[in-house]
Symmetry: D2
Subunit: 483 residues, 4 copies
C-alpha cells in the first residue's frame, strides 16, 4: 500500500503522534482559509487532543497478523472478548474526554473490509483480502490513525447512486488505469480528518449491476492530492478561538469529532489500495458490516459522555443545595437508567457476537441496531433532563471575560455564588460543560452518527425473525400449522 | 429439612410432576371455595401447565453440591455462563408459554439464601449455610419446585415493620421453641403456589435492631399446616372456567403466574428449615440479593412474551392485508426495539455478573435494576402498540359461543373474515391471544413484579457512583481537586 | 320517518326511558343466547344505566327547529357555545359514571348528517336536508337516543369497499324499490345498541364512482327486522353476572359502552329514512364531518374518567400512608398534566369551531384530531401511572366472595387493612375501580374509538398548512420567493 | 412615576422606537465591554428587531383607563377575548420572527401588579393601585416597552430569601427614605433589556414576616443609575458578529430574547414607583398571578416558532426528495400534533379565564400550568424530530464563507445540491434556520422560561381538586361518605 512518506517509524507517544500530523501537512479549509498547521491551530487542537488521548490511555492487544502488541483501534476482533473490550474501552476513554475520540469509525471500517474482502475473494477469486492484510500490517506496525468515509452527498434521496441528475453526487470511478483507478465525488460527515493518517472510503448503500462504478472500497493517506476537505461548523465552534477556558466548556477536548466534507477531484488510487472494485453485489454487505460494527459502539461512547454529564449535573445540584429534593433525585435516576440502558445494549450485542468466515468477530446485528437506535432518543432525553437540573442560568450565564473583568467580575462572583462553599466560578465551569455536552451538534451526532434511526429500523425489521415469532403465536393461539 | 411426606422419589416427567401435586393436596381458597384438587381444577390447570413445561423443555446443569445433573431452576449459579443461560432459557421458555413459568422467584430466593447465609455465618459463627446446602440437595435430588414469599401486607407504608399499629402486618416470630419457631403474619403476591412444593419466606425491607423479630428466612412445604392461601383475581380469570379455547386467548397456559395471599397463622417451622433468625443486619442484604437476581430476569421473560405478542400482531397485520404500510412497519419496529432493549438488559447484567464470597455468582446490580425498571415502561408501551396494530376488534369481538352458534356463527364467520386466505377464526384466535397477553394483570405484573419502579430507582441512585462521575466532570471543567 | 310503534309519548325520566327500552324488545345475542329483556338483564343493566344518567343529569338547550327545550344530545350545534357546552357536559357526566355514556356518536352522526345533507342538496337538488330535519324533530320531540354505525368489517384493508372478494364486506344497497332500498352488510363496533332507539348508518371511507352502491346514509329503529346484533366481549365482562358489587369495580355503570357487531341481512329502509344514496362524492365529507365532531369529545369524556381514576389513586395513596412521598406526588402531577392536556384539546377545538353553510357549527379539524390522537397515548400513560401508584395488590386481590366468607374473610380484612382508619374493604373498592377503569377494553376504546391514531395523523397532515409554514421559514431563512 | 427624560412623545413607528432606545443610552456589558449603542450594535440588533416587529405588526385594543387605542402589550385584560387575542397574536408574531419578541413578561407583570395592588389596598388601605394606574397610563400613552425582573440569584436553593448566608442573594430594601427606597441585590434572566424602556421588579417566591424586606414590587426605567446589566451568552452568539447572513440562521431576529443579569447596587426608587413594600403576605399571590399569566403564553409563542421549524423541515424534506416516505410523514405528523397540543393549552386556559376583583381577567391556573409544562417536554421532542428530518448535514455544514469562497465555493455548491431545482444555498439556509431554532439556548428557554417544570407541578397539585376527585371515585366504588 501507499506509505505516507513522512511517517518513517512507529508512533509511540502522544508527542510522536502530534509530530506525525505536523509532518503530513494535511490541508483543511475552514472559514475561507486553507489551514495546514492542523495540530497547532486552535480550531483543531481540541479535536486532535481527543485522538492523542488514545496514545496515552491505551487499550492494547496482540495482533493476529504479526503477533505484536498493537493498539486495539487497529485490531481485527478475534474473539467475543475483543468485541467487549472495544466497547468497555470506549466508555472509559469517553469518560475522560467527554468528546468523540474519532477512531471507532476507522476501526469499524477496517473490520468490515476484512470480513467483506474475504467474501469477495471467495466468490470471485480476487486477491483483496491478502492486499488488505498488508495494509492492516502497515497500520498496526506504524500505529496509525484511520478514519472512514461513507456517506455520499446524495442529492435526491429518492434516487439511487446511478439515477442522480449529476453522476458525481455519489463517488465513483471515472477512469481505470493500469496502475490504479481515478475516482470522483464527495463524501460528507468525515469524522476526525484533522487527526488522521489514513482514510477508508466505502459505499453508502446497496447497489445493482447498473451502479457498479459506484461499488468501490479503497484506502488512501488523508493528504492524498486531489482531496479537498472543508470543515463543518459546529455549535459554538468559534469559542475555540476565544481566550479563556471556561466558556469553551470542555477546553481540552471540545465536543463531537469535527466533521469535514471531502471532495474527491479525480483522485488517483493505486491498485494495491483498492479493496472492492465494481463487485456491486457486496456493497450492501459492506454497508451492513460497517453499520453493525459502528452501531455497536454508541451505547458505550455516549454512555461515557453521559457519565460526565451526570457528574456535572450532580455537581450543579450540590451547588444549588438540592441533593435531597425528591423530584431532583428522580431526574438523576432517569438519567442513570437511560445511560445504563444504552451501555447494556453495547455490552449485549458484543457478548452475543459471532465469528465470520474470515475469522473476524462481529457484534449481533439486531442488538447493535437497537443500541444505536436508543441513543437517537435517549441522548436527547438525557440532555433534556440535564437542562432541567441545571436551571435557567445554563442559558443566561455571562461570558468568562465579564466574569474576569475588574469592574463587573466581582459583582458576578458575589451574586452567582452557590450553596456555602461553592464558588461562582465552579458553578460556571460545570454549567458550561453541560452546555457543551448537551448542545446542538452533540445531539445531532447522537441522532445521525452511524446512520439515521430509520436505517436501524430497517435492519431490525429485516432481522427480527417475524415469521418465527408468528409461528410461536399461532401455536399458542391454537391455530393449525399451514402446510 | 422437613421432607414432604408424599414425595418419595425424584420427579422426572411432567406427569410425575402433576402426580406429585395431586399427592400433596395443597389447599387454596378461591371464590369462597377451598380447592384441593389443584392440578385438575380448571382455575389452576393452565398455571400448573406452565410450570410443567419446565419439566418438558429442560435446561439442565451439573450441581456443584452433588455433581449430579439437575434442573437449572434448582441451581446455585457457579459462573457467569450460568447467569447468562438462566436468562436465555427464560426467554426461550416464555416464548413457548407466553405465561410466567413461576420458577424464577424461587430460584432467586435460593441463590440469595445461599449468598446471605454464608455471610451471616461468617459474622456470627452460625451454621445456616450448611443447613441450607442440605435443603438445596434435597430440592435438587427430588427435582422440586420452590417459590418465594417476600412482600408483607404492610398496612401503613410510611411506617416500618415494627411501627405498625398491628404487629402482625409484617410476618414475625411469636414463639421460640426448642425444636423451632412459630411465625405469624401474611405475605402477599405469592406467585405459583398452585404448582409448588416448597416456599422460601424472607423479609421485604431492611431492618434495625428493634425489628429483629421480623428478620426471618425459612423454608417450608407449601402444604404446611397453618398457612391459608387465597387466590387473587386476575383479568378475565373466570374465562378459564368457560368451555371453548378461543376466548381464553392462551388456553393452555393462561397468563401471569396466579398469585396468592398467604396467611401464616402461628405456623411452626423446625430449626433445620430456618436460615435467618433475628440477624436483622442481614435483612437488607437479603432483600438486595434477591431483588437483583430477580430483576435480572425481567428483560428475558418479558422479552419472550413480547416475542409472542409481536408474532400475533404480525399475524393480524397480515390478516388485514397491511404488511406494506409504512406506519404499521414503524410500529412493529418500535416493538422490536423495546423487546430487544429489555433483553439486552438481562444479557448485560448477566454477562457482567461477579462471584460472591460464597462462591455463587450474581448479576450486576445497576444493570439488573435498569432491566426491571425498563419493563415497567416498555411492556406498557409494547402493549399499547399491539392494541394500535390490532384495531378496535380487539375490544369488540363476540364470544366463541356466538361464533360457534348454528344461527349466528355463520354470519360472524362470513363477516369477520380477513384478507383472502385468512379465516375469521384464525383472526379471532390471534386477537384473543393479544388480549390475553396485553391485558390488565399482565401489565401490572410487569410494573410491580420484582418490586415497583421506585425500588429500582433507589438502588440505581445508590450504586451509580455519582461522586466518581462528578470527579470526571470537574476534571474536564477545569475545577481543581478539593483536598 | 319510520316511527317506533312502541314509543308514543316523550320520554321524560330515567324510568320512562327504561320502560321505552322494555317496550321495544330489541334482540341482542350474547354468549349464544338471544336476549330480549335488555334493560333488565345483568349483562346490559350497567350500560343502560349510563345512558339513563343523561335523563337524570340533563344538559338542555333550545331546539333551533322547534324552539322547544330539548336534550343537548339531540341538538344541532347553533353556536360556538353549543360546541363548548357539549364537551363540558361530557366531562361532567363522565365524572359521574366513569363509563361511556354512549350518546355522543349518535349526536355527532346527527350533526354530520345535517351538514352534509345540506351540501348534497345544494349540488344535486335533492331533498335530503328537509327529510332529515323531520327526523331530527321526531328525535327531539320524543327525546330519543340515537347511536351511530360506521365501521364496516372490511376484510382486506389494503382494498377499497368495491374491491373486496366478497362485496358484502362493506354495507351496500342490493335492491332499489319504489318505497325504499334494501341493504346488506355488517357494521362493527356499534356502541350503545342496548340503550338506543334509533341508529344512523353511514360510510366508513371516501369513495369513487365505482363504489357508489356503498355511499349510503340512513336511519332506522334499532329493532328493525333483519338486523342481527352480537354483543362483543369485554375485559371481565362476566363479572357483571356475579353477585356482589366490589369485584365489578364500577357496579352501577360498568365500563366502556358495550359494542355490537350488526349484521344487515337484506334490511328494508323506506326512502324517508335515507339521507344519502349513491352520492359517492360526499362519502368522504361525511366521514370527516363525523370524525371531527367525534374526536372533539375524547379529551372531555376521557378527562372525566381520568378524574375518577385520579381520585381513586389518590385514595389508595392515602390508604397506603404515602401522600407525602415526592415520587408519588410527581406521578399524580403527571396524571393531572395529561388529563388537563386532553381536556384542553377538547376545549380548544370547540372554542375555535366555525359555522358551516348549513348553519350548524363544527369544531376545528386539526385541534379535534390532535385531541383524539393524544388520548390514544395519554390514556395508556395515565393508566400506567395508576398501576404504579396502586401497587401489586391491584393484580392479586382475592375475590369479594372470599372477602365475605366467614372463615377466611376476617383474615383478609385483618391483613389487607390500610393506614390507620382505612378498612380493607375501602382499599379493595378503590383498587377494583382502578382495575375497571384502566383495564384492557377501556384502553382499546381510547385507542380506536373515533378512529385509530393513523386516521388522525392523515387529517393533521392534510390540514396543517405545511406549504404556508414553509413560506414563513423561507422568508426568515432569506430565501427569495419563487415566482 | 419617574418619566424617562429622553422620551417626550408617543412612539409610533419602528423607527421612532429605535430612536427612543438610542436616546436612552442604556448600558449593557458584554464580553468585557460596556456597550451603549444598543440598537445599533450587531450583538443586540436582531433582538431589538424582534421587539420592533411589534410596532409594525400591531395588535391594538382600547385602553380601559383612557379609552385610547393602545398596543395590546400595554393592556390590562378586560375580557376573555383579551386573553384569547393575546395568545393568538403571540402565535402570529412568533411565526414572523421565530424569536422571542420579549414583551409578554412585561405585559404579564403589569397585569399581575394590577391584580395584586388592588388586593393589597383592600387589605391594608394602601394606595398602590391608583399609583400603578398612573404608571400604566404613562406606558400606554407613550407606547413604551416594559420587561420583568423576577428571578433572584438565590445561592443556596434549599434556603429562603432571608436565610441565605449573604442577605443580598435576594433583592431587598436596604434603606427607607422620605422620598423612596434604596434596594440591593441581583436579578437573573432579564429578557429584553436591550429593547426595553421600563422594568418591573418583583419577588420570586412566597414569603413570611421575617422576609418582609424582600417583599418588593417596583418599576424603574431600565437606564436607572446603579443597575449594572451583564449580557448572557447564548448558543452561537458570536455568529451575530460575523459577516454574511446564512450561518446566523435567523439573521434578522436571532433567537430567544437575550437575557441579562442585573445587579442592583443600592438603587434609589421613588415612592411613586413602588407597588408593594413589605406586604410579604402578597408575595406569593404576585408570583402566582405573574406565573399563570406568563405560562398562558408558552403554547402560543412556542407554537409560532414550531410552525417555522415545521416549515423549514418540510422544505428540507422536499429538498431531499422525500415527501412521500411514510416514516418521514409520520414524524411531521408528530411535530404537528405536539405543536397544536401546545397551542390548544394556550387557547384553553385563555378561553377559560375569569375576572378578578380588580376587574382584570386572568387565565385558568391549572390549564396555564399544563401549557407551560408541556412546552418543557414537547419543544425538546419537536426539536429532536427536526434533527431527525434534517439529516447529519445539520451538524456538519461548512461555513458561509467557504460556501462563497472562489476556490471551494463552487465545489460545495455542486455537491450539496438537493433534488432537481433545489440549490445548495437554499438547503443551507433552511438547515441553518433549523439549527438556530432547535439549538441549546432555545431549548433551555422552553424548559425554564416562566419557571422550571417543577414549579408548574406544584401549582397543578395544589389546584387540581384532588379531594373532589376522590369523592367521585368513592361514590362509584360504593364507599359510604365519611361524616
Amino acid at each position: 500500500m501507499t506509505k505516507i512518506s513522512t511517517i518513517t517509524k512507529p508512533i509511540e507517544t502522544p508527542a510522536d503522534y502530534m509530530q506525525s500530523l505536523r509532518d503530513m501537512k494535511t490541508e483543511i479549509w475552514a472559514f475561507g482559509e486553507k489551514i495546514t498547521n492542523i495540530p497547532d491551530h486552535p480550531l483543531f487542537i481540541p479535536h486532535v487532543n481527543a485522538v492523542a488521548k488514545t496514545y496515552e490511555v491505551k487499550s492494547e492487544v496482540k495482533s493476529h497478523l504479526t503477533g505484536k502488541t498493537i493498539n486495539r483501534f487497529n485490531h481485527i476482533h478475534q474473539s467475543v472478548d475483543d468485541l467487549v473490550q472495544k466497547v468497555k474501552f470506549l466508555r472509559t476513554i469517553n469518560q475522560l474526554t467527554a468528546c468523540c475520540i474519532q477512531r471507532c469509525a476507522g476501526q469499524d471500517a477496517l473490520n468490515a473490509t476484512y470480513v467483506v474482502t474475504y467474501e469477495i475473494d471467495k466468490k470471485y477469486g480476487t486477491n483483496y483480502h491478502e492486499r488488505f492484510k498488508k495494509f492492516m500490517t502497515y497500520l498496526q506496525d506504524y500505529n496509525l490513525v484511520t478514519i472512514g468515509a461513507m456517506t455520499d452527498v446524495k442529492g435526491d434521496r429518492s434516487k439511487k447512486a446511478n439515477e442522480q441528475s449529476d453522476p458525481d453526487l455519489f463517488l465513483h470511478v471515472v477512469e481505470e488505469r493500469k496502475d490504479g483507478i481515478v475516482v470522483r465525488g464527495a463524501k460528507a460527515h468525515l469524522t476526525g480528518v484533522s487527526g488522521a493518517h489514513e482514510v477508508i472510503v466505502f459505499p453508502t448503500e446497496n447497489m445493482r449491476e447498473n451502479a457498479k462504478d459506484y461499488a468501490l472500497v479503497f484506502a488512501c493517506p488523508v493528504n492524498t492530492p486531489g482531496i479537498t476537505y472543508v470543515f463543518g461548523r459546529q455549535t459554538n465552534d468559534t469559542r475555540k478561538l476565544e481566550k479563556g477556558d471556561i466558556d469553551k466548556g470542555n477546553a481540552q477536548f471540545a465536543c463531537v469529532g469535527g466533521e469535514c466534507v471531502a471532495v474527491f477531484d479525480d483522485v488517483f488510487i493505486p491498485w494495491e489500495d483498492v479493496f472492492m472494485y465494481k463487485e456491486y453485489d457486496f456493497a450492501g454487505m459492506f454497508v451492513e458490516a460497517f453499520a453493525s460494527a459502528h452501531r455497536q459502539n454508541y451505547g458505550a461512547c455516549k454512555g461515557g459522555i453521559a457519565d460526565v454529564l451526570l457528574g456535572a449535573c450532580y455537581g450543579i445540584v450540590k451547588a444549588n443545595g438540592l441533593t435531597g429534593a425528591g423530584h431532583i433525585r428522580d431526574k438523576i435516576a432517569d438519567m442513570i437508567n437511560m445511560t445504563e440502558t444504552l451501555y447494556a445494549g453495547s455490552l449485549a450485542c458484543s457478548y452475543e457476537g459471532h465469528k465470520t468466515a474470515s475469522g473476524a468477530y462481529v457484534a449481533d446485528t439486531v442488538l447493535a441496531n437497537i443500541t444505536k437506535h436508543n441513543t437517537s432518543k435517549f441522548v436527547y432525553e438525557i440532555n433534556r433532563l440535564s437542562h432541567d437540573l441545571c436551571g435557567g442560568l445554563l442559558a443566561t450565564l455571562p461570558s468568562e471575560i465579564d466574569f474576569r473583568h475588574p469592574e463587573i467580575g466581582p459583582k458576578l462572583q458575589k451574586f452567582l455564588v452557590g450553596a456555602p462553599g461553592v464558588s461562582a466560578e465552579d458553578k460556571m465551569r460545570l454549567l458550561r460543560l453541560v452546555d457543551n455536552i448537551s448542545g446542538g451538534t452533540a445531539c445531532v451526532e447522537a441522532m445521525h452518527g452511524a446512520g439515521p434511526p430509520q436505517s436501524q429500523r430497517i435492519m431490525m425489521l429485516r432481522d427480527a425473525k417475524l415469521e418465527g415469532k408468528l409461528k410461536l403465536a399461532e401455536k399458542l393461539a391454537g391455530i393449525k400449522e399451514k402446510k
